[in-house]
């Protein structure tokens, strides 16, 4: 019976405890949790000016293709690509012998002519004496005089020819018009050089500029005299300032772009032929940019972000303009230096109080 009493009292106690418990509300009625959420924020920044990069090579502003005005066999061509040359230094020599031979012939003719002229002068003196003495007719005197004039004219022509040959001989020597670097050679010694055919390409040692080709879509953004930045990726990304010096007004045909020349201030190591990147900034109105993590656009149809206003998150609709390296350029009710919530928690609503935590986003 004791067991029965024990069991009965156990049941009773359990029941009493249960009823007591049951009278207590199971748990407090749900109340809206207005505890501030911890969020990470980032500032609204002014968008970097949008820029586009063009690739080109440096080249000397003074460049020349050097050639002979006369044709002939190239006797010497002592310089190779890359060699420096001084002004007036002899760069090449044509075989001048044909001209010299011509000169020698002409000089022989001249000597012969001079002898003939001397003879004719003597003849004239003699015929003048004879005429005064009445031994010769006036006609004979005039005949002798005319002969002399003709000989002299012949001599003048011959002398001019000699002078020209001498000039041509001089032309068989190619001299550097400016100091510079040989950038190309075209004909080897021993070959026949036609008049006007280039022997050397020479870059002047003076100012160097960057030549780039610009797609037509970007042409409207480029003005003469505008400042640009020039990077040299193979010189450890050295950056220099430059100015647009020349804007090509027409492209060179299909598949080609518009030539643009950018002048740069010289520095040590600046030579022709370097790879250069020209960054041309688009001069737009100042725009604002926010990190991509701050943009919410789950369905891709509309976008918004949360901006921090007085410790609360305010929802701001956005128009997304242009993705940049550090963020996205947006249009919306945001100001420079505003702080936007990045990686907004799923339960963030317009007007929710928030606390600013850290962000891991690098």
């Amino acid at each position: 019976m004791r067991l029965l009493t024990f069991l009965a009292s156990l049941c009773l106690t359990t029941l009493v405890l249960f009823v007591l418990w049951w009278k207590q509300p199971a748990f407090a009625e749900p109340q809206p949790a207005q505890q501030p959420l911890v969020v990470a924020t980032a500032p609204v920044t002014l968008a970097q000016q949008q820029s586009f990069r063009l690739y080109g090579v440096t080249r000397a502003r003074d460049t020349a293709n050097l050639s002979f005005t006369v044709g002939g066999r190239l006797e010497t061509r002592p310089f190779e690509v890359g060699q420096q040359v001084a002004k007036d230094q002899v760069l090449a020599q044509l075989d001048a012998d044909p001209f010299r031979h011509q000169l020698a012939g002409l000089q022989g003719n001249l000597t012969e002519l001079n002898t003939l002229i001397a003879q004719a002068e003597r003849d004239q003196n003699r015929s003048s004496d004879l005429f005064q003495r009445g031994a010769a007719t006036k006609e004979e005197v005039e005949k002798v005089g005319a002969g002399l004039t003709a000989q002299r004219a012949k001599r003048d022509a011959l002398q001019a020819q000699i002078k020209e040959i001498r000039r041509l001989i001089d032309e068989t020597t190619l001299r550097a018009p400016v100091a510079g670097v040989v950038t190309q050679t075209f004909i080897e010694a021993g070959e026949y050089a036609r008049p006007g055919a280039p022997i050397y390409a020479l870059s002047g040692a003076g100012a160097v500029e960057v030549a780039v080709e610009v797609p037509e879509s970007l042409l409207p953004h480029i003005r003469l005299g505008m400042s640009v930045s020039v990077d040299f990726p193979l010189l450890g990304r050295r950056a220099e300032a430059g100015t647009v010096r020349h804007l090509g007004s027409s492209s060179l045909g299909p598949g080609h772009l518009f030539p643009v020349h950018v002048a740069i201030t010289p520095f040590d190591g600046l030579i022709s032929g370097l790879t250069a990147e020209v960054a041309i900034a688009q001069e737009d109105e100042p725009q604002i940019s926010i990190p991509v993590e701050a943009v919410l656009s789950p369905s891709g149809e509309r976008a918004w972000t949360f901006v921090l206003v007085d410790g609360r998150a305010k929802r701001v609709p956005l128009q997304l303009l242009q993705l940049q390296e550090q963020g996205v350029i947006v249009r919306g009710a945001l100001k420079h230096h505003d702080r936007v919530v990045i990686g907004a928690p799923a339960l963030l609503h317009d007007g929710d109080p928030v606390i600013v935590g850290q962000a891991v986003t690098p």
């Binding site: 405890l17 990470a40 799923a346």
Partner: protein
């Protein structure tokens, strides 16, 4: 009936057979496969389809839709869920629960494969073949990590060696690598230089490809042998590749290394990263073969790793998780419970029945247990926590038949019969009633046995073991107990103890209606109380582990995720509570526990497995950690997960919203999040809508492109080459072929302005800047799209605060959700724990009618009268009266395990009513008036009823008091339910009998 006496007449043979069976049981116990939990059949699969370069909307349209359409045609698939992200769609498939054996399931997966193949025919070009993973529940019982040097490739090389060694073990089925960095040779050319030299990735790749051929050179006959000609047409080593000459357009040739950086490194983009205690690691998940003794497996693996440790220096090989130790520990604890149970039951028997009688009954307890183990072994059973616990539960039940039999024999002995005659008489009397009583108990376990799905597979061994044990106990009661009793029991001179129960009988006999009314009231109170019951479907596991998931917005770069994970690592590094940490970035943690959901290829996800000093304070630690992480990494959702028992559940609270209109879905998600935010007791609210992903769209001007001899394809190729690279063949001198990729110098990190002015080589070889032929615009596209059974769905989920159970939140949540307007185009359903518990409860309760029918059938066979059957059936709800206060008193939730306990109770409590009514009928047949018959029945039967109840409670006590989280709710539900039901049965059955049969008191009972 003479066949019943065979056992008795051949006593020696009977006892020898019983001992033989016990010995077999003992051997079986030693050699049986051991696991921590039962194996759940692979009804789930993951299907991964990659479509390089496509955004989620494209994939949804071109890949996911045809795939899901085909899969929907497979009848056995019940759920198709797709997560569509940039370039990949991960589809989760679930087969219907009725498929249970591996063979049928594999046949279904083959069918699924055929449909997948059909879907691939509709895919656009460029979609990689889908990969179906049907081993997602395969537990990686041991997780090892290789650390020491932070070079991922070197770690990987060592991990490969360890893997090779592990695979030599017979007990190892597979070794899965975690944090595999992949391997690639990158030829990163300098953009500026390449431009100057007139080279690009395409030209470079082509040249390399032509120098790296693997073509057979044929063979020639030399003498009697064939000699193979092997042209060395491929790169021998990295140096060979580095120095290979590249011919420039000018005709000059330069070595590759002078224009490009050539290096072997991790695959790009990085797929997954593993770290152990903050250092880079490569993990090895060791999967044991099926149905194996995990403890032996653990010993083998541990011996091998100990041996390997010295051989992998300077690398270190560490154990991250080691399940075998837990298995050994858990099984040992449960085995101890089993021994303790046997001892307690024996003690109760001896103390209540007297030494001789008590010992006779108690002696069969271990015998039946061992014999059941033997039969369980022969039926392919495996020792795990459920099967052993089932044996403990069965202890209290198996003794009932023996008690009744021994008591009856004793009664006949006391009444002057000799041993054998007493046994024979008792056998004749009890063979059928005991069969009925055993039958009703068995019937109560039928729903559990027939339950389908993961829950069914998980719990099936409980009814299996209990039913085997009960059947064995019946046969022991018929054969062994009479034999023992006939030999060892002696005539006892016992006072009429039954007199002491007269006062109990008087209550019901004198005031039957009052008793019924009081009990009815208590029953209603209990039913009301049930609605207030804490519900937690499956309890927390008891591991000293915490799995922390960091979910960044979908679309986040793996570097950002890594930075977030590093924050967490720093946070716990100096915390004395944390023993170690293992971090998995870009994927979920390996399956070191059986029910972890698997997320492959997820760059926005990091999971950190923290091993703590103890399980105590784990929940508080998790709360603190979440708070800290919210402060440190607000943009990530931090989810802490204490290992739970039962089938995998993503989050306890899940609301799935479906609509085809992306914008409607977006707005409704916000509304639902706002509702969830108002609920108390929830945290880590999140949704999988995604926040959108920036996309640069390049629109090619075909006219401009045409003028530059370019096509759209050139533009796409140029962009791809610059960032990801172009495949220039494979390097075949390593263990696995390594892809050679040629790409721009900066690869994935190419600055946007540089990308815009990227040179595109046209057919003529002259480069055209991208801007000449294409304009690009910034767009935001969905970063992720979810489909559930082909409907576009967003899931809003939340976790429960420590101490909150899901039913506390669900009610108010449902009410608030109901206030929004829903229709067929915009609908919601609750998932998470609600769905899981509904499914599980449904799996069990679906078979309840079968049980009730079986019970009624057995009872009708026994009583042949509906009124008596009704009286017996009415006792079933009585157990509920005790269950609820009992669970409350011992602070246990009402979950699945308690439900199982209540179901089991049904079969036990009816036995009390049966034996009571049997005696009433007996009395009436002897001509006693009804009240006297009832009084006599109470007097005669109270002691045995209390005795069987006491033994059952005693058998359950070790489980109720165990440290496991799984068993106390079940054990306490059964103990309290049984106590109350027993007490109330003794009051209600006589009262009901009196009320129902008062008018029929003149009937003659047969």
């Amino acid at each position: 009936m003479k066949f019943l006496w065979i056992g008795l007449e051949r006593a020696k043979l009977t006892l020898a057979a019983a001992f033989l069976l016990c010995a077999t049981g003992l051997v079986a116990w030693r050699v049986m496969p051991r696991m921590e939990d039962p194996r759940i059949p692979e009804r789930n699969a993951l299907l991964i389809t990659v479509y390089p370069g496509a955004d989620p909307e494209q994939i949804a349209r071109l890949v996911a839709d045809p795939l899901e359409e085909q899969l929907a045609e497979v009848d056995s698939i019940t759920r198709i869920e797709s997560e569509i992200r940039a370039e990949v769609v991960v589809t989760t498939l679930k087969l219907r629960g009725f498929l249970d054996d591996d063979q049928a399931i594999n046949a279904e997966w083959d069918e699924v494969r055929r449909h997948i193949h059909r879907a691939t025919l509709e895919f656009p070009a460029g979609v990689l073949p889908p990969i179906l993973d049907t081993d997602i529940l395969e537990t990686e019982a041991v997780l090892l990590a290789v650390t020491g040097i932070d070079d991922p490739l070197a770690l990987m090389e060592t991990a490969e060696k360890v893997k090779k060694a592990l695979l030599q073990l017979d007990s190892v089925a597979a070794v899965k690598i975690a944090g595999d960095p992949g391997d690639q040779i990158t030829v990163a050319f300098d953009d500026a230089q390449a431009r100057r030299l007139g080279l690009n990735a395409g030209v470079l790749a082509q040249q390399l490809q032509q120098r790296n051929l693997n073509q057979p050179g044929g063979s020639v006959k030399t003498g009697g042998l064939g000699t193979f000609l092997r042209p060395r047409a491929e790169f021998r080593d990295l140096e060979d590749l580095r120095t290979t000459p590249i011919v420039l357009p000018s005709g000059a040739a330069v070595p590759l290394h002078s224009i490009a950086r050539v290096e072997r490194g991790p695959r790009e983009p990085i797929g997954e990263i593993m770290r152990v205690n903050g250092r880079r690691a490569v993990g090895l998940g060791v999967v044991p073969v099926d149905n194996i003794n995990l403890v032996t497996f653990g010993n083998e693996v541990r011996a091998l790793t100990e041996d390997l440790k010295s051989r992998v220096a300077p690398f270190t090989l560490t154990e991250v998780t080691f399940q075998p130790a837990r298995v050994a520990d858990r099984l040992q604890n449960l085995s101890l419970s089993l021994l303790l149970g046997i001892a307690v039951v024996s003690l109760v028997l001896v103390s209540t029945m007297g030494l001789r009688l008590g010992l006779v009954v108690a002696s069969v307890v271990p015998m039946i247990a061992l014999a059941s183990v033997a039969l369980f072994f022969f039926s392919g059973g495996i020792l795990h926590q459920l099967s052993i616990a089932a044996l403990v539960i069965a202890l209290g039940l198996l003794v009932d038949n023996a008690i009744v039999m021994a008591e009856s024999i004793q009664w006949h002995l006391d009444h002057g019969l000799d041993g054998v005659t007493a046994a024979k008489t008792a056998l004749r009397e009890l063979a059928l009633p005991l069969l009925a009583a055993t039958g009703t108990t068995l019937a109560a376990f039928v729903p559990m046995l027939l339950a389908e799905g993961d829950v069914g597979s998980f719990t099936r061994d409980i009814p299996r073991v209990i039913m085997i044990t009960l059947a064995v106990s019946y046969f022991f009661a018929l054969c062994v107990t009479p034999t023992l009793s006939a030999r060892f029991q002696k005539q006892l001179i016992r006072g009429e103890q039954q007199q002491r129960w007269d006062r109990l009988a008087a209550i019901s006999v004198n005031h039957p209606r009052k008793v019924l009314l009081a009990v009815g009231l208590v029953l209603i109170t209990a039913a009301l109380g049930a609605t207030r019951m804490d519900q937690q479907f499956f309890p927390y596991g008891d591991r000293n582990q915490l799995l922390v998931s960091l979910e960044l917005p979908v679309g986040s770069h793996i570097q950002t995720t890594t930075a977030a994970a590093e924050q967490l690592e720093r946070l716990v590094k100096n915390d004395p509570f944390v023993v170690g940490s293992a971090t998995f970035i870009g994927r979920s943690a390996p399956q070191f526990y059986y029910n972890l959901p698997k997320y492959p290829a997820a760059p926005h996800l990091a999971q950190v497995l923290l091993t703590t000093q103890s399980t105590e304070g784990l929940a508080a630690f998790a709360d603190r950690l979440r708070g800290e992480m919210q402060r440190l990494v607000p943009e990530a959702v931090t989810i802490t997960r204490i290992m739970e028992q039962g089938p995998p559940v993503d989050a306890p609270i899940e609301i799935r919203i479906s609509s085809e209109d992306a914008r409607v879905l977006e707005q409704r998600t916000e509304a639902v999040v706002a509702i969830l935010e108002r609920q108390q007791g929830v945290h880590s609210i999140r949704h999988n809508l995604g926040r959108g992903q920036p996309t640069l769209t390049f629109r090619v001007n075909d006219a401009a492109a045409g003028r530059g001899h370019l096509s759209r394809g050139h533009v796409a190729q140029a962009l791809g080459r610059q960032t990801r690279g172009i495949l220039a063949g494979q390097f075949r001198e390593a263990d696995d072929p390594v892809p050679i990729l040629v790409r721009g110098g900066a690869g994935e990190f190419t600055p946007l302005p540089q990308l815009a002015s990227l040179d595109i080589a046209n057919g003529a070889g002259s480069p055209v800047p991208l801007q000449q032929v294409a304009r690009f615009t910034t767009e935001w596209v969905p970063s992720v799209i979810h489909h559930r059974n082909r409907a576009r769905t967003v899931t809003v989920s939340a976790n429960l605060a420590t101490g909150t159970r899901f039913n506390q939140v669900i009610g108010p949540l449902k009410r608030d959700l109901g206030e929004l307007t829903w229709d067929t185009l915009l609908r919601y359903e609750l998932g998470g724990a609600v769905e899981a518990s509904d499914t599980a409860r449904g799996a069990i309760l679906r078979n309840m009618p079968t049980t009730l029918l079986l019970l009624v059938f057995i009872l009708l066979a026994e009583f042949n009268r509906f009124r008596e059957v009704a009286i017996v059936m009415i006792t079933i709800p009585l157990s509920a009266i005790g269950v609820i206060p009992g669970l409350l008193l011992f602070n246990q939730p009402f979950g699945f395990m308690s439900l199982l306990g209540v179901l089991a109770l049904a079969g036990i409590v009816v036995n009390n009513a049966i034996v009571l009514i049997e005696v009433v009928k007996e009395g009436r047949a002897a001509g006693l008036p009804l009240p006297e018959a009832v009084r006599k029945a109470v007097r005669k039967r109270t002691r045995p009823i209390l005795l069987t109840t006491a033994t059952t409670v005693a058998g359950l006590l070790p489980l109720a008091l165990s440290s496991s989280s799984l068993w106390p709710p079940m054990a306490w539900a059964m103990i309290s339910g049984l106590l109350s039901a027993t007490m109330l049965t003794l009051l209600v059955v006589p009262a009901l009998y009196l009320v129902l049969f008062r008018n029929a008191s003149e009937e003659v009972v047969v």
